[in-house]
Symmetry: D3
Subunit: 278 residues, 6 copies
């Protein structure tokens, strides 16, 4: 069950409202790198977390923290929209700084939300929940979480670099810090479970006899005019400790030509496609 405090997790201040930055911040709310995504991803992973209950608790606890991050970002967007113009004036358009606002801001911040945050990204595209990656496999879920927090910190860094607002930089430095931890939090669970070698390949419960292992350890170079690049991926022991890596430079098709024959008479095809023998 959830509860709420009326104060924000961390102070959110804006020195000089900027409607265009409000639009950019939306990426951190409703983008695929954003906070709705991680909040919901951890929440739904918790819904299906079987096995060690500590992991379920961590998933739900961090999902809860991420909800607090959406809340802070939502307030940051509203503060950046304070003072945005609600009517067009040619005078405004002639001021190049206001002009960038007119042109580069999200018009739906004015038209639809009444100068406040929306669950959309920086292009105004609503977040859709297909981006909640939750497989019921703890290994796959942890990797999805590290990926999400990596994308999140890349985004927070770019927002930090973009703005020249002191309040916003302070707030973003907090988000950057939490992403630093969260990347490692999920990797620490992998450590706790014996490390990457023990967890690979994911799922590690797939019996080896379900796998054509002669195809499990080579890099396939499909480039016609270049040899495979040399590196760790083509030589030495495999990271899962089960084999050695190699390289296949000139792959040949192993399968058949996929011909389907004629269409059925009553299947809505053109007459030319129908094979009466069928």
């Amino acid at each position: 069950m959830f509860h709420h405090s009326s104060k924000l997790q961390y102070p959110v201040k804006v020195d000089k409202p900027n409607p265009q930055f409000a639009m950019l911040l939306q990426q951190a709310i409703g983008g695929i790198e954003g906070e709705i995504r991680v909040a919901m991803q951890y929440f739904f992973q918790a819904m299906g977390a079987r096995g060690d209950d500590r992991i379920r608790d961590m998933l739900m606890s961090t999902a809860t923290e991420e909800l607090s991050h959406i809340e802070m970002l939502g307030h940051a967007v509203a503060l950046n929209l304070e003072g945005a113009p609600v009517s067009y004036q040619e005078e405004t358009a002639k001021d190049p700084v206001m002009n960038a606002i007119l042109g580069g801001a999200n018009p739906r911040h004015l038209l639809s939300s009444g100068l406040s945050a929306m669950p959309v990204n920086a292009n105004g595209v609503p977040f859709d929940m297909s981006h909640v990656y939750a497989t019921g496999n703890i290994g796959a879920d942890m990797m999805a979480n590290v990926a999400a927090e990596s994308g999140g910190r890349v985004l927070a860094t770019r927002l930090y670099n973009w703005t020249d607002d002191h309040g916003m930089k302070d707030f973003l430095s907090f988000l950057i810090a939490r992403d630093t931890y969260h990347q490692q939090q999920w990797l620490a669970i992998i450590e706790e479970l014996g490390g990457m070698q023990a967890q690979l390949p994911i799922p590690n419960s797939t019996p080896e006899e379900h796998e054509a292992t002669e195809h499990s350890y080579y890099y396939l170079n499909t480039l016609l005019d270049k040899d495979a690049p040399k590196g760790r991926w083509g030589e030495g022991p495999s990271l899962d400790g089960r084999s050695q890596y190699s390289i296949k430079n000139t792959p040949e098709p192993l399968g058949q030509e996929p011909s389907l024959g004629g269409a059925k008479p009553n299947s809505g095809a053109q007459t030319d496609q129908v094979d009466p023998a069928k």
Copy 2:
């Protein structure tokens, strides 16, 4: 530039066509764990791969391999749809095995595609390209790729477990094998670049002074009625080698109450919301 051989990468045989399995296989084509996703993800990562050209070449080369996987799966779907009924008959409905087909198959395999594969998932939802994760940051991209290949191998394992068709099991054992390698291929790039410690936190180019590092190394327990679970995430040196982990069990809000005051008079709010002082 791309080229094509008319044969498949690996043989695809179906012993006993099953329209319901055709529907399940769609998840491996158009699902978020599927092959369109990885093909396009590696392709677009290659489009923005700056730095080491070896990585760009690997991304494009493996994108090309994944295109061949879509092709095989597409053929597998068509083969499983051979013999599916194209008209309703109450007799058919009374046969429980056919019944499952009538009920459990994707009706659009009949209505829309004429008994062949579609770029949709097992619910018939079309793949959308927002699932192409490509940040321009090699670390974040590699983690997204490991996550994708982990989800992919979980799915292939579940499809393998579901079917009792020998041809399909052989084909899926090939996909399972390639996913085994691809998980490790992207991790091997991390190894090549100095390993996880060198790459963390992602992006590792963010200056530490842009980060509120006092918030970078603690686990935040938001559960009111339980202490944080103990484990690697709460103690010992951090995985990035920069600090020590700790736990914060009773977090207090650090920020303000987010009150916005009144609405502007001409902003389309209700009169009650308008603060004349504004």
Copy 3:
């Protein structure tokens, strides 16, 4: 800032797991009538609530309650999926009850989530955040909330009618009860603000001179072969207290024929469309 208790808001028990009911319950999680929608709608309305802070607090407080509803439903889905088959067997298909499961369950509960809840509706379509209606106008927001809770209680009623599981019926009777209250909670805010007459038309801050009021109070009957139905909408004082209702039975177009003339020469049109005079 958000917090969490490790226990559910209300007990969730399933007497006899039913994977098909798991699929139906998804509508209450990820459907447009579902709990993700109301949780996020109240949250984002709170993000933009200007004016009376009591309303902002109520929006956030009830958003928090709705998060707890998602959590309960997520657990209900997982419990209904306990024991679902993970491999196909013709024997299974011959059992008509299992058959309904094979045919009527969501295949992604097996393939994608590992037998747990997903943020999708009963068709497996992911929830998308465009359904978060939040205008910054308290009147419009309250009406959207009453509508959402009405759809929600219709859905809960239909789920209650469908299932014969005692545990599920008990759980749904709780959701039905909370929806009863929430419908009235948002209407009570309208009462608090002077009632419907004071709030209409929404927004009530639009100056009457911005409105072609000669078109504000008649029912327009566009049916060619029937007169307008008689009733409250066509006679008596208007609900906003500003006028009287009437009926316009044979509407004539008041505007012009919308002809655009020729296309520009370099606008990518066919040559036939281009008007050289332009």
Copy 4:
């Protein structure tokens, strides 16, 4: 069956074409507050209107009127795009007014539609039909319609405030007027059916014994650091006339901790998750 007159319902004139306003107007066509939505919503509600045929006729009649509104808005968009530049010139970019057009207009008005309207919103996101709320319950449908018309009039008001074009203001004053009526038209049906008390809770056909009525009349305050705000929602007779409102300030979880135990061996989980006892 539908018919068409070649003239518009109301005159649509543009004094000074403005491509940026064309983009803003799109919200009234393809936005969730727009005319496609209400046209289709009333149409599909009519498709499922059981009971009083007068209501079905009103739904279809007003759906038809809303189609005429899309038509007028579509023409308004095309008129605002007359004269928009179809090639980039640095000179153009240096003129700040044209600059706002270059930056703030929808590029697909040039690239995709050839300077005419599209079924998209002000961000260029296509309308999707999931926003057609039609439940088969007249009470829920009427509330959804009031909500839609409220959002619509908020939008029309904001567009009116934004533009300085006399022709556009005249046209928008007509839309504002019709929204005034349509809000009340749907509320008048509630009146006709006995008023809000008779219609609540929606659905009013749910037997009280299907409802845990001990949870039906209290406001749940989930805020940890504040008491519930006082008001109509917490005291006095309930709006449905069945009970009295109260407040629950310190809610405790009533349910269990949702632990799922181990994963099945062949379910694609990690080995650590599998409970052999299962």
Copy 5:
């Protein structure tokens, strides 16, 4: 401006309601081959039809007819849902015919719409308006319309083949007939404008000097292991009358290797990617 008659364009009868066929019919309402799509496509093409006003009138007139088709299909869906069960009973599940209904019907017909039509396809995926193809180029628009009507008639044929209901077959034979005409109606406009040779290539207003015409008339065979198939596409005069077709069997890349160099220091990349020289 639109008007409505209260009767349907053509009689719609269902002899024996079938909830599964209701689900299949949805493809003709909300599928990409369906009637919402053509209604909206012709409508928006009319919104941007510049040049010959006869074409605009035909587009609007046929858009209006297609609205009447949605209406008939909507009624057909509701009639097929009459008598569908609203509660689960194990007895029902044991009846294989009912079983197919339980499994194969759209659960949202029960849960969401109250046994009536929805603007979704046969998978329950809502129609989205991105499928409205309207370019402002009459040639491109006519080809899109022929394509749409071809897909539509393929679908109607498949629905006709599927059902054994006399009423439904009669109704579908009407839709098949109208699609026959509409395919030819749009091709007849091409005829009226001088035929395909005059209209090709689309747009025919593109100056030849904007085109690398040395690449305009050869078939490019990208298959490595097969020569190009022989046929009309590789020999003889081009259909636009401007040249002769030929075949290029062994295409070589003409362009450069696309290397991007290093990333900018402050662009959120990994340190390894950054080229200090940049």
Copy 6:
């Protein structure tokens, strides 16, 4: 099986990078008129191509060429983003040319992709695979392909007209040329199969007795205030050679009024809707 050369199909040069043009080019990558769409459309049509194997080979071969087009466009986008600013500066905003970039560029090129291409359109909306039109009917598929290539060449022409960059114009002249051919390539297959008359109506395998042919050859004029426009569509032999065209100027409804009666008692309707007799 697919292969790759490391060089581009055609040279891609940018003389003067322009981030706004990068955004416009996205329409040719991820727009409905773009290259992902045709690549995937031809690919999936090949997956279901029954009958003449030459057509399947052409579909796959051209799908492969279109993949090479995405690759070139992806590189063109990255080149246009070289030098885009990664931080806001008021000085920048005052330069009107840079200003257009700030306002008119896609912010996610900075925030999400790190200055490279994404699988989205010019509004930043991700491509979704529902736009892959593949019916299993060769006639319908060919028409869909001509339509796609027509829209594609309209778009390439508009991009050519927009840009003043010599490198980009050269590259676009190549795309325009290939679209010229591809339009005719698919029409040449129609020629090869006997021409349009032989292929119409699509599907030409539908038995005439499944069609209410008395409704197959008239133009239906639904305009109340205008007669049908005269032209080829209303007179002369039909294009399929089966009949003569005519015009129906004053269509009357042929069907019934669609009344559904009352709702079922336990179907979640309002009490007023329920007909106890049912």
